[in-house]
Amino acid sequence: MSRSASKLTFASTLCFCCLFLTGKLFADGIELTELEYKVSNKVLLAAAKAELKFNSDVLAAVQSGIPLYFDLHIKVMQPRPYIWNKELYRVKYTFSFRKHALSNQFVITNLVTGQRGVYRTIELAIDNLGEVDYLAVLDVKELSKTSDLFMEMLFELDIASLPAPMIPMAYISRSWHISSSWLRKKLNL
């Protein structure tokens, strides 16, 4: 058995063991700074601003043509005394972020709405990824008339959508755990 094969065996065994010991321990890389909402045509819309800081591993992957998928989770919650809050509604928007090699540009696509943005530089693309324009959350008629509702939002990289060979390492590597914390905003509808 060659030395490289031995290394691979050792590394695979190590990964195998570490897989059980680690989880999503390191939520870092995205910070949701603003969360806005409005009601337009009786539809609750939400917008957000986020600061995204990708490390070199992630940037290298994008430059190498690896598509990244980011999930924007929006929840409408109703607080309850003593016990956990009740989740009234939940919606998820997924954004793909990839490099278009032929045009040498970076494309961000909202996979739900089909909206697409093309950017000449990766930095520009990352900045625009953090600019989430108003997205439909739910029909306000579905909500009961209560003043205690609030909205929560989370923006994260979907590790499971990475190419399969990357997934084990992504799960155990801090570099790939890119997620914001939940940002809360009280709703006054």
């Binding site: 065996t9 195998f16 060979p165």
Partner: protein
Amino acid sequence: MNTRVLSLFSVALLSASLLCSLVLMSGAIQNSAKFGALYAVLLLSNAFGILAFMVIIGRNIWVLIRQLRTKEAGARLTLRMVIIFTILAVVPVTILYGFSLDFLRRGVDSWFDLRVSDALSDSLELGRESLDLRMRHLLLQTEKMADELSEIPTEINPLNLGAFKNSSLSTRPYLIPTPAQLDTMRSENRAEELILLNREGVLIASSSATGNLVPSLPPELIRAQVRQGQSYIGLDPIRDGNLSVRVAVKTNIAKNVQDYYTLHALYPFSNRINILADSVESSYEQYMELSYLREKLKLSFAMTLTLVLLFSIVTSVWAAFYSARRLSAPIRDLAEGTAAIAKGDYTKNLPVESNDEIGFLVSSFNSMTARIAKAREEIESQREYLDTLLSQLSSGVIALTSEKIITTLNPSARHLLGIQESNYEGESFLTLRSENSDLEPFREQILYLIKEGKEYWQAQVAILNADSRKELVCKGTTIKTSRGTVSGYVIVLEDVTAIVQGQRDAAWSEVARRLAHEIKNPLTPIQLATERLRLKYLKKLGKEDGELLGSLTDTIIQQVETMKTMVNSFTDYASSTTKQKSLTDTEKLLKGVVELFRSTHPAVNFIYDIDSNLPKIKVNIVRIRQVFNNLVKNALDASPRDIKSNIIISIRLVDYLNSEHIEIEIEDHGSGIPEKLLGTVFDPYVTSKSKGSGLGLAIVKKILEEHDGMVALRNKKERGAIVLVRIPSSDIKGDTPTPLGDLRT
């Protein structure tokens, strides 16, 4: 469903699940789109599956270690088989794994040929260059359109609709081309979409080939670039992945007007160019992706291969355990069965679980066990029969091995030898001992006879004990094997004491009868002749001669009287007095005899210990009185004359030889019987007295034997002797006893 089948089914299910999971995982690596989302789950499930297998194997190992520690049957065989099976399975798999990893690494590396990489990069660059040429041409074309727009007469839009929406916008009127002019321009330049925006980015006019109501507005960045006087041209993947060229240029509203518009145009590529561009793009992307994932792919494949290896190893090891247990189970059962038989348990019946050679072996074992059990039962039955027979035999039987180990010592033999213990089986013949008897002469005699090596031998051996002498006839047989070697000895003991004694008594009776007959007849004439001689010649002789004659004749007459007495004693001994029996009270009869002697022996104190309600005995009173007379007289003779002493007389009812007997003990405090006379004290002419005839105890014994009784004499431990008499009692009630007064006569 039993536990074993359930366990087997569970493991098979687990193996199948793991196998499926590994196949899916392999698919996930090769095609992320298909199973990529499940990859982590599959990886974890495989890991847990293998871990579950390891737990099962660990349990098996623990059980095996426990079995080895307790030295359970079949454990070592199972261990050996597990090791062999595991080595047979693991070594080739591991070698295969090593080579596979190497091939895998080389295989993945071979995907990334430098020439292919260069070719792809070149093709991409070529595509870019080609598209750039087209884009430059389109830029020039759009700039030309912008110039044309500023040249053509324009209309003033009387209504600024944008002002309604945004008050910050200027409310000045716009100079715009007519829709027909814009459509003509777009179609002449083969643009897909043509848009005119004012300085604020408000849509002034648009023309679309596709009829889209919502035009594709340029982003703010492009508008900002145009504001700064720089035209924008870019290749955008606009809709459905198709490429379009986006161009934005600055154009004057009209001559002599300072304000400007932004002309934004979208040019589509032909389908052919789109397909080719997409092909180049996707190929390059895939190559770049694979190139980026090169090491990770190796790692993933190695991980999958490692999981496959682990799966193979754990299933092999488990299968090794399972197979080893299955194979060793019948052998373990056989070992346990053999051990059980060794311990004497012949009821063990092993399960026959297969019809192969092992099953045949187990069946044969079961048959053998059954036959052994049957044979053992027969032997046991025969042994019980033999034991019963031996226990009922009046003859003593001793069986010895060739090493003189006792294998059989029946109750009669123990009784004859005076052995109390019953567990002499397994002990050496040399250790045979009795509390009451001296068995040394017996042992020496038997060992001597055995040593002689005869096949059959016979000898008469006397055994002396404290109160009797036994004459035993020992008949020995040497048991030999079919090969002629000695395997043991059987000794049969016959008690001939009574026969010998009877023969001796008969001989003495005959002697006594003849002596009485031959001596008594001449005595009377001798006495008469002597008296006549004395009468006739005494007066005729002188004084001196007369005195001599008187003295001589007195001596003759006295000696004749003595001889008559002796002859009468012989007559008594020889005579049989079994007739004239009557019911007699033993106590009264004995006390009557004692009273006769009380006056002549004042120093002796008679102490009675007599049970109440004693049954009567049917005896010849005269003869039994003679017995008591002799015994009491002997006790008195043995007692010291001048010192006060006791004679203890006890009468009790005892159970002897399964019938009631009156037992009389007369205990004196004399000097006892000399040891050398103990065996023959009841023989005629045996006495320890200076003046005794030696017939007293012989007559006592003869009378008691004629009454089916017995007499025994033994010395006390301290001083004195005890004579013991047993006479069968009579259960006949109401018989009138013979008056004691008559008995005294």
